[in-house]
Symmetry: C2
Subunit: 137 residues, 2 copies
């Protein structure tokens, strides 16, 4: 996927696609709201990095997620077509999750955000300290 090149306008406006239809825009915002969930992001990253995984391993790799939230988030992602759930009829049961093409494409779209977070971690931390200092003094 190639991003539209930023033009030299006063405020870097045109990096975003202009969806003129306000109804479409509302839908996009709504979709963003669902898909930009913390756990969804992390699961996308884990599955991208480690490939297909079974339920419990996925939970370990994600870290700090309850079984309930893991199930819930995985269901929503499955419903949205981001991943496929495969049940192997063996004992003990074995369920594996893997990204679809759609899921992988979303993961790639989020890639820049992960890089941003890793890169600017300390800068954000400093900003917070400065803010808190000003608020306190």
């Amino acid at each position: 996927m190639s991003l539209p090149s930023a033009v030299a306008s006063p405020a870097a406006h045109d990096a975003y696609p202009d969806d003129l239809d306000p109804r479409v825009e509302a839908l996009v915002k709504d979709l963003i709201g669902k898909v930009a969930d913390k756990w969804t992001l992390i699961i996308l990253e884990v599955l991208t990095e480690h490939g297909e995984q079974r339920f419990s391993r996925l939970g370990d790799l994600v870290g700090g997620i309850s079984q309930k939230m893991l199930t819930q988030t995985l269901r929503q992602m499955e419903r949205d077509g981001l991943l496929i759930r495969t049940i192997h009829p063996v004992i003990p049961p074995r369920v594996e999750y893997r990204l679809t093409e759609l899921g992988l494409s979303l993961s790639e779209a989020f890639c820049g955000v992960w890089i941003w977070a890793a890169k600017h971690l300390e800068e954000v931390d400093r900003a917070r300290q400065a803010f808190d200092e000003r608020a306190k003094g």
Copy 2:
């Protein structure tokens, strides 16, 4: 910002930066969790597209946000160094918000996600219908 080129590995792993230190990884996940909030995303987009804005106009442009959430989200973003709040000492009071360089860089990182959402809106919708159909039948 240029993304690292995806290498031809089995599952497109290496698009993500590998932060080996688990403590750093935890911090990154935490930061993602805060920054990937729905309202934060939309405010980033609005300020990127329309430039510096005052409080109420911002609320209108965002759409569907309560005054409380707007204030709250703006404060957090200011604390994180994503935007600057300028108070003009006039009557009636006039407060303007504009992105910092940091905020703009985050906005750019999210750009790909907006494009993804706009592009795959219908695909997600179809996936949901198919899923619901299977669940019902």
